[in-house]
């Protein structure tokens, strides 16, 4: 085990007050520590010195919950591909390195404290259409609706999204298109989600816009940062689904019966 001596530049902020970078020395960090364990060590030392520890989000520390965030050296979840901050290890850094640690920056993700941001905009997008309406009661027979293997696999790829927000953080425009496209695409691909496809697509995109995220400019920084390596081709599908749903809405397709009753 080697020990690393690191220089940290950590963003400190309380609520909506202006933040600043604090220089924190982090000597003797074991190289087998994860990035979050390194932050734990730093915080222990800050507490012992009577200082305010750095606030950051974390939960499972297994790379599956989507709770950890942090932009490390300008990259959401740090430099490793397909890796969350909790699964990033300090052996990827060299002793003497200066590491910039910042929150996920987006207008739609206001800073709560230091490195913690409020990502409930994502929850409101899910609430707008990220579900299928089903009757409650007895569970339906599992094989009642046949699903092709290719479709099931594709939907599973999109469903791998853990909603961490790295796509927003890494996007030059703070766009949430990769997240929304994965969440809408997962359901729009499956037969169970097909009935509400148009309504879902319009509602989720409108909520995304209302939250103040930016617009996609097809630069694919999101895909490079995504810890679950969600493909940007889901964004192409969302664009396609949105175009179709908009044209249908424009001409009033599927509304004849309800209007005839008015």
């Amino acid at each position: 085990m080697a020990l690393l001596n690191l220089h940290l530049k950590v963003w400190r902020q309380t609520g909506t007050q202006p933040g600043h970078f604090q220089d924190i020395e982090a000597p003797e960090i074991p190289d087998h520590a994860s990035f979050l364990e390194m932050m734990d060590i730093v915080n222990e030392r800050l507490i012992r010195a009577g200082q305010d520890p750095v606030a950051f989000d974390h939960d499972c520390r297994e790379g599956i919950c989507g709770m950890c965030s942090m932009t490390i050296n300008g990259m959401a979840h740090g430099p490793e591909r397909g890796t969350t901050t909790c699964q990033l290890h300090m052996r990827k850094f060299r002793t003497g390195d200066t590491i910039w640690v910042e929150p996920f920056r987006a207008r739609a993700f206001p800073v709560v404290k230091d490195l913690m941001v409020d990502r409930s905009a994502f929850d409101r997008i899910m609430k707008a259409g990220g579900y299928v309406s089903v009757r409650t009661g007895a569970a339906p027979e599992a094989n009642e609706i046949p699903v092709g293997k290719e479709i099931a696999d594709a939907a599973m790829d999109a469903a791998a999204c853990i909603g961490c927000g790295a796509c927003v953080a890494s996007c030059k425009n703070a766009s949430a298109m990769l997240y929304v496209s994965a969440k809408a695409g997962q359901l729009n691909t499956l037969p169970q989600g097909h009935a509400e496809k148009d309504r879902r697509t319009l509602a989720m995109v409108r909520q995304m816009d209302a939250e103040g995220f930016g617009n996609c400019t097809n630069q694919y920084e999101c895909e490079a940062a995504c810890p679950k390596e969600i493909s940007v081709r889901w964004i192409a599908k969302l664009n396609r689904d949105y175009a179709v749903a908009s044209v249908k809405e424009l001409v009033g397709a599927g509304r004849q019966q309800s209007q005839a009753g008015e």
Binding site: E102, K172, S175, G214, N215, C216, N218, A236, E249
Partner: protein
Amino acid sequence: MSSLQDSLSRFYASSIGKKLLVALSGLALIGFVLGHMIGNLLIFAGPDAINEYGHMLHTMGHGGLIWVARLGLLAAVVVHIVATIHLTRQNKAARKDAYGKEATRVASSASRIMIFSGLTILAFVIYHLLHFTVRVGNEYNNPALYTAMLDGQPVHNVYKMVIDGFSWAPASVFYIIAVALLCNHLSHGFASLFQTLGLATNKTWPLFQKAGHAFALLILIGNCSIPIAIWLFGYGR
């Protein structure tokens, strides 16, 4: 407001709606850029070829079709620019506080300067129209100097106008700079529009990307060959 108007304004208000309009207007402009270049390359087929082509464009449909094309292009340009400026302003507003340490992993440099390359191309297009279409500050509208005979009929001497136009170094230099920026703009924009239109899949994307780079290069070489031949190699002078 009628429900149709309501749906249309909601479409434009949405991020994807504006992007679809940018993609479709971009596609129309790509078609124009290609046609314009092929037509202009007739300069290398001699005076009669390009003069006849110019005459044909101005007399199609009793001189009406050129105005249909011009108004269509104007509409595409306006939609393309107004929507992208809206989108860019929203993008700037979506991240108020910049990162202390910025990193770029995969975004091409062309994709990051689209608004600047686009606005420079706009400035060039205005200059280019004043130069060769409206013909202000020059003698190209003087029939005594710029009339050629084609099948015994007097027509505008496009050939002489282009040769004279590009014989002036600043015009050629600005033209080459603008075409280089257009090539840069297309190297991101061409493939990008297929992603926005929802036609990009894992299978088709590499093709769109290669086609975009090839198209951008074709436009660069084809267009720049004209001022380079005239200004540097004295073609037609």
